[in-house]
Symmetry: D2
Subunit: 340 residues, 4 copies
Amino acid sequence: MKKSFASDNNSGVHPDILKAIEKANSGHFVSYGDDPYTDEAKNLFKEVFGEYTETFFVLTGTGANVCALQSFSDRFNAIICPETAHINVDECGAIEHALGVKLIDVETKDGKLTIDKIEKYLHFKGDQHHVQPKLISITQATEMGTVYTLKELEDLVQYAHNNDLKVHIDGARIANAAVALDCTLRSLTTDLGIDILSFGGTKNGMMIGEAVVFFEKEDVKYFPFIRKQNMQLISKMRYISAQFIPYIRDKLWYKNAKQANDMALLLYEKLYNLNPEMIVSRPEANALFVRIDKKIAEKMQNERFFYTWDEMEGIYRFMTSFDMEKEDIEDFVGFVASFF
Amino acid sequence: MKKSFASDNNSGVHPDILKAIEKANSGHFVSYGDDPYTDEAKNLFKEVFGEYTETFFVLTGTGANVCALQSFSDRFNAIICPETAHINVDECGAIEHALGVKLIDVETKDGKLTIDKIEKYLHFKGDQHHVQPKLISITQATEMGTVYTLKELEDLVQYAHNNDLKVHIDGARIANAAVALDCTLRSLTTDLGIDILSFGGTKNGMMIGEAVVFFEKEDVKYFPFIRKQNMQLISKMRYISAQFIPYIRDKLWYKNAKQANDMALLLYEKLYNLNPEMIVSRPEANALFVRIDKKIAEKMQNERFFYTWDEMEGIYRFMTSFDMEKEDIEDFVGFVASFF
Amino acid sequence: MKKSFASDNNSGVHPDILKAIEKANSGHFVSYGDDPYTDEAKNLFKEVFGEYTETFFVLTGTGANVCALQSFSDRFNAIICPETAHINVDECGAIEHALGVKLIDVETKDGKLTIDKIEKYLHFKGDQHHVQPKLISITQATEMGTVYTLKELEDLVQYAHNNDLKVHIDGARIANAAVALDCTLRSLTTDLGIDILSFGGTKNGMMIGEAVVFFEKEDVKYFPFIRKQNMQLISKMRYISAQFIPYIRDKLWYKNAKQANDMALLLYEKLYNLNPEMIVSRPEANALFVRIDKKIAEKMQNERFFYTWDEMEGIYRFMTSFDMEKEDIEDFVGFVASFF
Amino acid sequence: MKKSFASDNNSGVHPDILKAIEKANSGHFVSYGDDPYTDEAKNLFKEVFGEYTETFFVLTGTGANVCALQSFSDRFNAIICPETAHINVDECGAIEHALGVKLIDVETKDGKLTIDKIEKYLHFKGDQHHVQPKLISITQATEMGTVYTLKELEDLVQYAHNNDLKVHIDGARIANAAVALDCTLRSLTTDLGIDILSFGGTKNGMMIGEAVVFFEKEDVKYFPFIRKQNMQLISKMRYISAQFIPYIRDKLWYKNAKQANDMALLLYEKLYNLNPEMIVSRPEANALFVRIDKKIAEKMQNERFFYTWDEMEGIYRFMTSFDMEKEDIEDFVGFVASFF
């Protein structure tokens, strides 16, 4: 069976994750997270992010973002994000629906938020006519396949904190970012002073499960209520928690993301050799953006589906997954080549 | 390991469900429900509930209720439910939070809504000062362990429809109700004219997964948006759908609920023999309510946890699960007996 | 023209209020409350309630309640109130709509909340499955025409504060209550430790305008945003503020409420003489509840409208207004007498 | 006393409006709009906009917009508007707070929405991951002082309707637009197929009061509930309605707006003569945008307040009001001239 380059969530579940689920299926445990699997998984997160951090498990990426952002925003606040942000474009308005706050989305070319884009919205601070910016939300790796450098993040966090803004990372693909930057998860988050993190699992080899990581103990006080009322508290929690055990303990997060990133690079190299015109930019994580003539692209999509990213510009996205091998790339490149 | 009588969600996953998950873990599939497992599961629901019904899969019982109720309510509507309803008491205000509507909760002794309780709230219809009742929401089997008879449901539905109210069933334990009534799922829902159903899976041997069943095609039009913005759309949907395949096809829903109900009856009989004073009422589904002296109950709870139902009245709840056997009941009765 | 006994908002505007509006209509002033009329009115409130209090003007009673309650509640909180509360019954779900929180309404006979009714909802504190009670909201004078004594309020406030609950008074008719209790507004609020007050103007001789009074400076920090986003900030604020100047400075609040209360008592006495069976109870503020045969009541309502309070019980409400005189009462009693 | 060029809401109330309020202050009337003043005012709106239209009175411009937009949007919808829109910038997030929907704001230079800006957001239609655009909201005259031509509106409405989008006009200054275009209110709205209108009163000589105009009878069905739950239903409605009687019947809307527009033109001409460099563009309604050196502007603002429009670009706004005369303009021009 051909593997899909449409999205990293078209893949299945890593065998070790499945084994962990099976292992958790023994006997009765208290529900809603008061079980040994959840304890173990939460402790593993402390080892990764630091002893003062607190982690909670939720069900979907959108759920992680909503719960994380509710934790730091009041009803009259605004959240500043890039216009490409998943929370802005791909969550059917979940943030506005659940939180009632405004997303201030700023134009970007590469999916990255920059200080100069934030600045003009801070003039509104203190004026009763305007929503009050309280958070910035950035995605790492971004929806455009780019990765913020540690220096870029450091500057953003410093600017945000100087201006009384909290920093949220949508880390649906934070593993891919850490691999791309060749750094630890902690150096990407805790060490930079990030305030809250949506930590992705599903796109990188898990079945169902995301985590919300808090970096200050006092911030978590109301999170259990926030998670429950946003429909993210599952009764048989152990089956989510159990997945995170090998994912963190055995560094599956790293191995899976490394494989996906490597395969994206291989795909890039081979397509570049095929036709350098096609390439929009060298992939930084596991997404490659290519330029294809619309008619050809449509023929290709009919055979093997992938996403149109910018219909006007004729840009398409190929994503690699944790379970792809060299042969999958070669096969796909052959498929692409057959259209030219 | 001792099995828990605290709740039916303390149990694990039925082996056939786990096998179905494993089987689904092969290769790549389009995400968000456009996969063959989801197609198959949805078709199985049509076989059970009728060809005009449409089913969508969601993640939690609270999520199923929120999405179902959003589908039929506008922002100025109210939903009438018993005060004991899960949506009223146990969902941390998810309905009010996500929908912004009022729950009108009416007093009940046995968890059942009755026509005379609804009546007085219909005087408000058409008056701009009052929220407008649009739905009644009932739980079957109820949170009090009781089961509406088919006649009771029929009367409620007729009354509701005559008064321009839709009928929602919170069916977290609808399997236990069908077993208790010895009727088909269809005769409990479609045949009675129910408008929308939260169909439970997790409490009856599944891992994660609930379904929302619509009985009229035109009602589903906006459900995909509602599900997404309420954080109930999982990317790797096949792992939810796959669980429903044996659950429906192999009548696991029936077998599991039958076992749980039978064990509740066995527990009742044995405890009745031990001490008839202890029994509040004969169980109709898989919950048995008992009266225990507070001090004794606390000692018992320290050893094997179960829920206090009414602290004032000294009433406690024992729940049986799909995976309990005669020996589990005997063991638990022995445990209880040791305190007297 | 006959005066209406349907509600105290059927009356017009006191001539001194109208004069104050006319006086404010001279020249240009900065909008949204940064004008000398607003300053003066706010200072008058400080004189009444204490120098540490802060007052904001809003447009409607529902608006005052929503803004007041938003100031003290987070999205997962609940507000405990009597089932008869205006916020629960008469505001078309504004609280749930604007705040997304649950109202826990408790049964009462006389419209008063009591400690024993609150108690059972505090068991839920700290449990993630349940909304968290954060406020109690009481109405003074109540919707049932009764008035909490100072001792009753003192006990409620103490109980609430001991249990980490804030106390909100819906004071749409607080003037009538102060008159009834023969006490100052301060002794009814500030001195008892009330946390926030919706202070009514419209029902007692003003044209449009209510106030929200805070008793601790730090609580007001975000109120300007809350008022604006709840559509309660009027641009030409001076015309609201100007009304409060004679209302407070010249004790119009007292004179008007005294007249309304006195007339209610006179009405009661005369109807009692007519037929003691008709009387439900002696009025404490400006509402008199009477028992009339349904058929007769309908005939009366066709000629001069008044509200049915309890259709089942055949109870009706007569309200007196600030502008009623002895002759209005005699005329109305004559009207009533003509039906018997 | 000097008149303010900061905003048209710094002015007071037209004497005829005040007289209408005084006249309404006679005796008792049923509250909440069931009174003869409201009937008369509603009928006058029918005469202006057409016999099939229905008008409701509300309290604030933000309230009018929220209620109007709630009438046509479901919780998963989006509203497309210019980034300069009052609903987007100046209402403290009221739309997101009250409705939970997303505002998609598009960049504009002149405050006008254009078809090419809408187009890209329609690709999302039908995709469950994206909020569904349901309305466009435009402001006439715009916040940038510009006025859509009838042809521009006609094209926008046709495009919107062809794409299943409703059209809302924020008409806080629709009177100024009608004067600028020298057309009737009906030709600007009903005749173009507009779906709903926020009709402003306060900025053009009224005290408090806006209207929401519906153009199809079936659309109004739920508006009374929407108005009430959004805190826009005033009990003593006659005092709002009464203002609209001379405003519509005596064409005060026209006279007032004509005067304000004429004075803006006079101001423009005189400042152009003083220094043509200062002028950003010729005013179309009653707002003039000027370019001033920041330091000078600050000195001016200290003496007579006016708003900074674009701090980066050094652009400031002067607004004229209905009650300004030639002498006020000359005085203000003299004031400006004294700084150069």
